[in-house]
Amino acid sequence: MAAAPAVLEMRSITKEFPGVKALDNVSLTVRLGEIHAICGENGAGKSTLMKVLSGVYPHGTYEGEIYYQGELVEFKDIRSSEHVGIVIIHQELALIPELSIMENIFLGNEVRGRFGIDWGETRRRAEELIARVGLRASPDSLIKNIGVGQQQLVEIARALSKNVRLLILDEPTAALNEDDSEHLLDLLRGLRSKGLTSIMISHKLNEIEEIADSITIIRDGHTVETLDVRAGEINEDRIIRGMVGRSLSSRFPEHEPKIGETFFEVKDWRVEHPEVPGRLVCKDSTFHVRRGEIVGFAGIMGAGRTELARSIFGRSYGRFLSGTITMDGKEISMPDVLSAIKHRVAYVSEDRKALGLNLLDTIQETVISANLPRVSKHSVIDDDRSYLAAEEYRKSLNIKTPTVKEGVSKLSGGNQQKVLLAKWMFTEPDLLILDEPTRGIDVGAKYEIYGLIQRLADSGKGVVVISSELPELMGLCDRIYTVFEGRVTGEIRGADATQEELMRLMTGTGLARAR
């Protein structure tokens, strides 16, 4: 394997944005037919490097050279890199929700017949690609109606349709559950055995350990090292040491929970799907949260955890049918988001681009946006107080940015996630609902965020964590509920939870016993 020739060489790449040197003399060598992983902390420059490679940042906007298949290449846009077989799948998926799978696969690359698009041929090829990536959906399904895991497969099918030779995946599994991730990794292995070279960015180090042939580590815009996985023992700790410069003794901070009494209780919560009358997304869900407690919600994609959380948070999802919420012994009603915020409930969405952030805002504007009164006097926003508030979170969450006046769209994915967390912590919630809070966040920052969650809990608040990563739930939560098809199917103490037991309850096989 080590003898395989280099297919790609990026030499001394330097890329500057106004005020930030995102890449400083970075080099990367990728060998033919391998899966090459890129690791690094949030804001290290991974996505930027891949954007340079794929022509998103065209030749001339960066310094350094790119050699592809032995030749110096200077891409002027994405099309020119695709022309030679380099295809990038971005951190944020770029599919069109209102179009079908088939249309998305061939968008911008339509199969032309004598009279416009040849739909017969398009369908035939789409079906072939769908089968190749192992997608179980009809070519006519609309993107908005399929899950994220399947959308990721559509992106790969799209790449394959362009005769990809070098596939770049920027955090492909960040939004996927374990099954979908496993499927995706299998697919990549299969493609590798057929000779496809890929570059993959991920914060899920176990996956990297499992699949990568070599690993390049980037820190603060510099290349730290390239590890050859086949040559020697590479484990997660080794990667972390490269990424953060020291070992991380444990993934979760030491924590002694200080659990008080129940203060938030949901009983017999029934919610109907917003578009399909009669279909229940929450079926008599009942749960409670105690002060100082971190409560997890486990479930497979589509189990209804997000729906449950959002229907509680100001009824912002679905149609409320019945059920009660009791807070501090009093029954409360939260018919809209504003009243939920007033009752000091906060919900951090899993979908930061669509539901979390206004990408046109600055960091400062985002942080204060859900609680303007806190920095206003006579309903006039005090710029100074807003600035100080944002500064505080920049420091405590270690948000990588030259200033909080920077636009959030200019932050790296993980740093955007931190800004979103800051926005909701700024509402000083008593109950904080976190939906996939560490999606796209690096190991070091995860540790910090866990610490933050624990400190919030210790100050007497309740925290609800929805996560698709079972180890995260088991390491962090004092109690875990499992959800299956809109029903709460079980409740386990965090210390007692095992992956098998959780899986059993999450997939409905334990239903009979739990009910």
Binding site: M301, A309, R310, Y317, N358, S379
Partner: protein
């Protein structure tokens, strides 16, 4: 829309003025001409201020000209037939604007009809109403309203060779500029941020004061009895108030939030309907105000008042840096954008260019201004002006071109979206 860009726009405006000043042999910067320029354009600028909020929220309002016209005729008739004083007429007119605005806001915010359609209907509806109510006649208005639309400030006090009201106004503005610079520095020091360099600050203040001084002289040194015009003062007040609302209040932030990402705004506790309603309603109130200023200037209300105003206002807003997709734009930018159009009109007219060619040139300027904007955003480089006038405040927009940062396009009804979990 960054403040850098605003300075860039301001600079472009000055260059444009100087250009015409030279080519016309000094006809642009005369007291009479600038007074007329303000009187003749203040109502469009007021419309632009309302329009920028509508556009930031992601809508458009095509009905402003018709709303202005129907308000004008109602006020003119009320003053003539019911004998109410002119100022009561103005209040009545603002009320009419509020009612019309509530009507349009209702359809947009609570029924969910796009602003384009609602106000296209409104455009016909209120144009028709104007001609119906006034039976397509011209109705004259009294002196009070004429002063409101085209009058001047009084002369008083010692002879300073200038109109003293204008002089006072100039001094107040200069004091305010110095004060806000000092305040900005104090705030920076208090927060432990490096304040802008003393040199830059002093340069900025000196340049601003010289400009203000010159403008004061220009407006104040006209023939006896003229000054900075009253509609200009109304415009100034409206601009300051709305700049403040847009940048410093929760309501203002909500407008940006709704236009920037509706779903995220809904999940942050923003009342989307209320915001949309207020924005549409506000537009009609300002349209009513503009209509009354115009009627005052024209000395009567007629059946064709306000035709095509919506297009002028929209052009001003886009030249001023707003984005069609919403979420971006500033009040000051729109005012500058409107002034660019006004100066262009005026300068071409003084140069003897016919209205046919003027239209062509204005169209091209609109296109080039926005194209330049798009281009410089895609480059993401700070301009030279940005280095001279660094600013701590101001909205920075995402400069990333479409592909890398797809704009969220999530349909929401009241904040509800499909979700998976």
């Amino acid at each position: 829309m960054s403040s850098i860009r605003q300075f860039g726009m301001g600079l472009a405006l000055i260059v444009l003025i100087l250009f015409f000043q030279i080519t016309t042999g000094g006809d642009v910067l005369t007291s009479t001409n600038v007074q007329n320029l303000i009187i003749g354009n203040s109502y469009i600028l007021i419309l632009a201020i309302g329009m920028v909020l509508v556009i930031i929220a992601g809508h458009i309002d095509l009905s402003v000209g018709s709303v202005a016209a129907v308000t004008g005729i109602i006020v003119a008739l009320a003053i003539r037939d019911w004998g109410i004083p002119w100022w009561l007429g103005v209040l009545l007119g603002l009320g009419v604007g509020a009612v019309i605005g509530a009507w349009q806001g209702f359809w947009v915010a609570y029924v969910g009809i796009p602003g384009f359609i609602t106000t296209l209907a409104g455009m016909m509806l209120f144009r028709g109403a104007n001609q119906w109510i006034g039976q397509s006649n011209s109705v004259p208005v009294p002196q009070g309203l004429q002063d409101f639309g085209a009058g001047y400030l009084p002369e008083w006090g010692p002879n300073t060779q200038l109109n003293n009201s204008t002089l006072l106004l100039g001094i107040l503005v200069a004091v305010w500029i110095v004060y806000s610079e000092v305040r900005r520095r104090r705030a920076a020091i208090r927060l432990g941020i490096a304040p802008p360099s003393t040199r830059a600050a002093v340069t900025r203040v000196v340049v601003s004061i010289v400009v203000i001084g010159y403008v004061t002289y220009l407006f104040g040194s006209g023939r006896y009895g003229t000054s900075f015009p009253i509609p200009g003062i109304i415009l100034l007040i409206v601009a300051v108030v709305y700049h403040f609302i847009a940048s410093k209040t929760a309501e203002g932030r909500h407008v940006y939030a709704v236009g920037g990402n509706r779903a995220a705004a809904a999940l942050s506790g923003v009342n989307i309907r209320r915001t949309n309603f207020l924005v549409m309603m506000n537009m009609s109130v300002l349209a009513a105000l503009a209509g009354m200023i115009f009627v005052g200037r024209a000395t009567s209300s007629g059946p064709a008042d306000g035709t095509g105003w919506e297009l002028d206002a929209i052009a001003a807003v886009f030249i001023g840096g707003a984005a069609v997709s919403g979420g971006v734009g500033t009040v000051l930018g729109s005012v500058i954008g409107g002034l660019v159009m006004a100066v262009l009109n005026n300068g071409l007219q003084l140069s003897g260019v016919g209205s046919d060619k003027t239209q062509v040139i204005k169209g091209l300027v609109l296109l080039v201004a926005v194209a330049f904007d798009v281009y410089s955003k895609s480059q993401g480089r700070p301009s030279i002006i940005g280095k001279i006038f660094p600013s701590r405040k101001g909205r920075e927009t995402g400069t990333t071109p479409g592909l890398e940062e797809p704009r969220p396009e999530v349909p929401v009804a009241d904040g509800a979206t499909a979700a998976q979990g």
